[in-house]
């Protein structure tokens, strides 16, 4: 808390965040992987890495908002799955609702899920992790309503939104992530919502006493997270060409790792999108590196869990919580 109050010039302030360390880790990792595998530094592989992290990047954009406000959102995976399967059903032969409407419906579903999460968390006052763990199970169950339809996506426009490469090299999905991160950074810096969100994350009681409408802003943060989860769902059906109820399963773990590694403090109040973006690249490069090095599939799960534990342990140590006596 005291650290946040002290003022440094812009660059010094940047050096104090974990972002420079992350950049260093990323460079070392790139060197290591390119030395161990000759396939790593090919354009084909790099294109693949960038296109693969689309879904996680978009999800991380929303989760960062929630976590800066001191909340948690574990329901993103099933929200993405729900938005994905509903829109793929609406695009099926015989139903074929015009694409813009499908997009609007998907986004509305995402926002609705976010609204439900936000309302339960703020108005009823349940721990956000417990709430979203419950809604995670509920909305995953809802996805299975359409499991037997096995919808495929033939719509060319929907297929293209997640698959186009600009100039044949730069994946358009990365552009979405950059746009989302830049817009959200601007919102954080220049809007009242952004400032209030950081205040709430820093000290909720203080924010309440200062007259900030805490509940409204928190609910809005969950709606934003649901919105991005819906977009991630659309990207999933676009890239995979079908809708399946299990899409997005376990995404919450990876996104949580990315966001915390990116320097967003568990408990809220601190974080920036540059860090999250580099963390996104680090995690996806690790995933890709494990594929190239032929690490067994099940061992990757262990590595991912261990990464999450490691990252939150670093977060706890960095924020000196270990000095607590009890």
């Amino acid at each position: 808390m005291e650290k946040a109050v002290k003022k440094y010039s812009g660059f010094l302030n940047f050096l104090r965040t974990p972002t420079p360390t992350l950049i260093g880790i990323y460079i070392v990792m790139m060197l290591l992987f390119s030395l161990t595998s000759d396939k790593f530094l090919t354009i084909q592989n790099i294109k693949g890495i960038f296109n693969n992290f689309a879904v996680f990047g978009i999800l991380a954009a929303g989760v960062t908002v929630v976590m800066i406000g001191g909340g948690f959102d574990l329901a993103i995976g099933s929200t993405a799955g729900l938005a994905g399967i509903v829109s793929s059903v609406l695009l099926m032969k015989g139903i074929e609702i015009p694409t813009p409407y499908v997009f609007i419906i998907a986004i509305l579903i995402g926002c609705l899920v976010g609204l439900i999460n936000g309302l339960i968390i703020t108005k009823v006052g349940i721990n956000p992790i417990i709430t979203t763990l419950g809604t995670l199970a509920i909305f995953r169950g809802v996805c299975y309503f359409w499991a037997d339809l096995n919808p495929r996506v033939y719509n060319l426009f929907v297929q293209s939104i997640g698959r186009i490469y600009l100039g044949n090299v730069f994946p358009i999905t990365t552009l979405y992530i950059i746009i989302a991160f830049v817009v959200l950074t601007l919102i954080f810096k220049f809007t009242r919502f952004g400032r209030d969100l950081f205040t709430i994350g820093g000290n909720e009681t203080l924010a309440r006493l200062a007259g900030i409408p805490v509940d409204r802003i928190k609910i809005l943060s969950y709606v934003i997270s649901g919105f991005f989860a819906a977009i991630a769902g659309l990207l999933l059906i676009s890239q995979l060409g079908s809708g399946r109820p299990e899409y997005g399963n376990g995404a919450e773990l990876e996104v949580l790792t990315i966001v915390v590694l990116g320097g967003v403090v568990v408990g809220g109040g601190r974080g920036n999108y540059l860090g999250v973006f580099i963390a996104l690249m680090i995690i996806q490069t690790i995933t890709n590196g494990m594929v190239l090095l032929d690490v067994p599939v099940y061992l990757r799960m262990v590595v991912k869990g261990a990464l999450l534990v490691l990252v939150i342990a670093i977060d706890a140590i960095r924020n000196k919580r270990h000095l607590q006596l009890y």
Binding site: I129, G134, V303
Partner: protein
């Protein structure tokens, strides 16, 4: 004034007495209703014995986890722990190790997992919810890696007895384990210094620390035994299914934690009753068993489990808020 005060006190006592009793009444009504609606399958030996055995492995873990939750922490890794224990047990049996040794190794593994969680929370200082969500994936991932995602047959007289053995030809052995666990945890929580410490820490960690309680030690030991209890639960489940597979126990953390909160334990700690947990476990197990008997799709049961968790916690929070407004 004096009169009003005494009236209030007596009312409070009444409600406190009633909480667990109400849960047991709900249980009896539910059981009667389900026996009628789900006839003839629900109330038959073929259903009741597996239900009771299943319920006992949930109950063993819930009883010990209640102690962790009363001290203000939580352990989500129990599901992963069950999966890893099941895989470990099956693998060791396949190698030809004697049954009793496998049981000891499995329980020791549980202690090790619990110790890891405890270290993360008390020494490193990580929030226990996130830490144990992470370790949940690690345990399950190790289970998958060990067995390569396959299920392995686990047949051995000792292991068979843990889940399917009958004491005096009538009482399933897991029930004995369940009763023993509940008696021990009940005595610890209600009639020992250690239990008082756990309650004190949950209610106010700073005050407990200042009054000389080693908060970290108490929490660490809670995690330690929670890991062991989950491993014991994993052994029972392995025995019941006669197979060790990494998917064992998936989603059980949702059921167990809902049962504990339904039993009246506060999420933030400081309040909770072992008997309440028992009632919660019985109610939820009977409910999910009924849904399975009624042939409801697994994913919808999962939906119900999620809703129950949120509903139970909401009810608890709303009651808390009402109580606060009254005072």
């Amino acid at each position: 004034m004096v009169e009003i005060k005494t009236v209030e006190v007596s009312q409070k006592k009444k409600t406190r007495l009633n909480n667990t009793v109400i849960l047991f009444i709900i249980l009896v009504v539910m059981f009667a209703l389900f026996s009628y609606v789900g006839r003839p399958f629900f109330f038959s030996k073929l259903n009741l014995i597996p239900m009771v055995s299943n319920l006992s492995f949930v109950g063993i873990i819930a009883a010990v986890l209640t102690m962790v939750m009363v001290s203000g922490e939580i352990d989500f890794s129990i599901g992963g722990n069950i999966g890893l224990t099941a895989c470990l047990t099956a693998l060791l049996l396949e190698r030809g190790l004697p049954g009793w040794l496998v049981v000891i190794i499995a329980i020791a593994g549980g202690f090790a997992m619990g110790a890891f969680n405890g270290m993360l929370v008390t020494v490193v200082g990580v929030n226990s919810i996130i830490a144990t969500i992470g370790t949940m994936f690690i345990w399950r991932g190790i289970g998958y890696t060990l067995t390569n995602g396959e299920s392995i047959l686990a047949l051995n007289p000792v292991i068979d007895y843990i889940g399917r053995g009958m004491v005096f030809q009538v009482i399933p052995f897991p029930i004995i384990l369940l009763v023993v666990t509940f008696v021990i945890t009940y005595v610890i929580m209600n009639h020992s210094k250690w239990g008082r410490r756990i309650y004190a820490i949950g209610a106010n960690p700073l005050a407990s620390f200042l009054s000389g309680i080693n908060v970290k030690k108490v929490k660490f030991i809670g995690f330690l035994f929670c890991g062991a209890a989950a491993a014991l639960g994993g052994l029972v489940l392995t025995s019941l299914s006669a197979v060790g597979m990494p998917q064992h126990g998936q989603g059980q953390e949702l059921v167990i934690i809902s049962a504990i909160i339904l039993g009246g334990t506060a999420l933030g700690g400081g309040r909770g009753q072992i008997l309440g947990t028992l009632a919660g476990v019985l109610i939820l197990s009977v409910l999910y068993n009924f849904l399975t008997i009624m042939n409801i799709y697994y994913f919808y049961i999962q939906m119900v489990q999620g809703s129950v968790l949120i509903l139970v916690v909401s009810t608890y929070e709303i009651r808390q808020a009402v109580a606060r407004r009254r005072t």
